[in-house]
């Protein structure tokens, strides 16, 4: 069974079909990429998956369970986590706290326990903290855990955001343009990090503009154009496809229609 499956997902804003009839599957343990020119519906697609938008038609299944229209925080708690295209790290808290917030669903401390059994609650906190530090170690950020997130350089903030998403221990990690604003060196670090995540058993779905990055990281790529799935294949096939070239470079011939 596929980890995630969408069936004829459709979303329009006013008259614009942002996502038009997209069906796809993501298997356990894959790194899947999604590309497409600006406005082709990639971000809308991710927002549909994570419950920020509700589709007008179609279904999303996660491990066979229908999650269409489920609230965002519920979707996170059942194992889908994401990052954002425009960095959304919690700026005014420490690096470690960012991760701890990411572990919100994993730290089991109900409200009554905090007031009535404070010592037991504290113990749970401490354990959560240790686990959180392990996540920071993955991205080599452990030695900066007490720093305010806003004081990290941009590339590290992006890694931190991914770490934070990982901290909820998702089965599926969605990365929305993780390379935006990065320099080539930071991109290499990121590529390595993504492979590490996959090796640790998490399925990764990446939306990206930067072709060099996506071609080197993804095993399978889905191309969107004007809200529709245009094709899917491995990086070689995508690069060689004349249709994809046309999407990206435009038509050479005057096309009367």
């Amino acid at each position: 069974m596929a980890l995630l499956e969408t069936r004829q997902l459709l979303k329009h804003f006013g008259g614009i079909m942002a996502v038009n009839d997209i069906s796809l599957t993501i298997g356990e343990g894959e790194i899947v990429g999604m590309i497409g020119p600006n406005g082709s519906g990639k971000s809308t697609f991710v927002n549909l998956l994570t419950g920020l938008y509700t589709p007008d038609k179609g279904q999303t299944l996660f491990r066979g369970q229908d999650i269409t229209g489920m609230q965002t925080h519920r979707i996170t708690s059942i194992g889908i986590s994401r990052t954002f295209q425009n960095l959304r790290v919690f700026q005014n808290v420490s690096v470690l706290t960012n991760i701890l917030i990411g572990r919100h669903c994993q730290i089991d401390n109900p409200l009554w326990k905090i007031f009535l059994r404070p010592l037991a609650a504290r113990k749970t906190e401490k354990e959560g903290r240790e686990k959180a530090i392990n996540f920071l170690k993955l991205a080599n950020l452990a030695d900066r855990m007490d720093e305010m997130a806003k004081n990290l350089p941009y590339g590290e903030q992006r890694l931190l955001e991914i770490c934070r998403a990982l901290a909820s221990e998702p089965a599926l990690l969605l990365l929305d343009e993780p390379c935006a604003g990065m320099n080539p060196v930071e991109m290499d670090t990121l590529a390595e990090f993504v492979r590490k995540i996959k090796a640790a058993g998490t399925t990764v779905f990446i939306i990206e503009h930067n072709m060099r990055f996506i071609m080197s990281v993804a095993e399978r790529i889905i191309v969107l154009n004007m809200g529709k799935k245009f094709m899917e294949g491995n990086p070689k096939e995508i690069q060689a496809d004349s249709g994809v070239q046309r999407i990206y470079l435009g038509e050479e011939e005057e096309n009367p229609c």
Binding site: F13, S43, N47, L52, Y53, F84
Partner: protein, 291 residues
């Protein structure tokens, strides 16, 4: 009886619309809750009161002077308390500075004029005419006419004058307006100025028609403007009119048929209801957010 209540209601509604227009315009451009609006309006009205009662100035001259002073004060507030915060700051910060500015103006006015209710001189003859069997005061008729004329004139200005069109464009999209060559800061100052002028006009008309003025009307003015703007759809001119009318009429009906001490709580309840049920107001548009 009912006719009279309705006419007074429409008059108060027209005044409220006048006060709301300036408020709503500011919100339309800067998305800023201008808490100082009512205090500017009461400052102007009190100034007008002094000019009339103490200096015995010609009524028209006094009103014009007070309105200009109110307009200048409004643009001064914008310059001092808001302009710095406009770039990339949280909206809440300017809300709080706006409140602070409101207190400064209110308190300064209080130091000058005290917090007692004072009797505002009449601007119009104290005659009555009979409409459909009811006595209606000439003051109310004149007030209504003035308010309507000003509102119509302003709408024509927005529609047909170059500067008016520029204001509308700035309220839609600031960066693009600057690409058209519209000076943004200047336009915003003008909007504040006009908002202050209309506010003071409204305040003067209101005080004159009730022959009373007091500092506490300032905060009420702000709330009225808020509520009317929200009812009609904040940022929209037509909405300001409708909102003002609804408020003026309902307020008078409540005062007469329920109790005047519940007229303000009910105004607030209307505000809460509108915010919960239709936060964009009757004519408002929904703004789509992008993630």
């Amino acid at each position: 009886m009912l006719i009279e209540v309705l006419i007074v209601g429409v008059m108060v509604g027209a005044i409220y619309s006048l006060v709301t227009i300036g408020y709503s315009m500011v919100y339309g451009i800067l998305k800023l809750m201008n808490f100082a609006h009512g205090d500017v309006y009461i400052f102007g009205a009190l100034l007008c009161y002094t000019l009339l009662a103490q200096f015995h100035l010609n009524a028209i001259l006094a009103v014009v002077l007070a309105a200009v002073a109110g307009g200048l004060l409004a643009s001064l507030v914008e310059f001092i308390a808001y302009r710095r915060l406009r770039a990339a700051q949280h909206r809440m910060i300017s809300m709080i500075t706006a409140l602070g500015a409101a207190y400064v103006i209110q308190n300064s006015s209080e130091l000058k004029w005290g917090n007692q209710v004072q009797s505002f001189p009449s601007l119009f003859p104290a005659d009555h005419i009979v409409i459909m069997g009811s006595q209606v005061s000439v003051t109310h008729i004149f007030t209504l006419i003035i308010a309507v004329v000003v509102i119509v004139a302003f709408n024509l200005f927005l529609k047909y004058h170059k500067a008016g069109k520029a204001i509308l464009c700035v309220s839609e999209d600031i960066p693009t307006s600057s690409l058209m060559g519209i000076p943004i800061n200047k336009t915003i100052s003008v909007v504040y100025f006009l908002g202050g002028v209309f506010g003071v006009l409204g305040g003067v008309l209101y005080s004159a028609s009730y022959n009373a003025i007091s500092i506490s009307m300032g905060f009420r003015g702000t709330i009225i403007a808020f509520t009317a703007a929200v009812i009609g759809g904040i940022g929209s001119m037509g909405g300001a009119l409708i909102g003002g009318m609804i408020l003026g009429l309902s307020e008078n009906l409540i005062s007469v048929y329920v109790s005047s001490s519940y007229k303000d709580p009910i105004t607030f309840l209307i505000l809460i209801g509108i915010l919960l049920i239709r936060p964009t107001g009757i004519l408002g548009r929904t703004e789509a957010g992008k993630v």
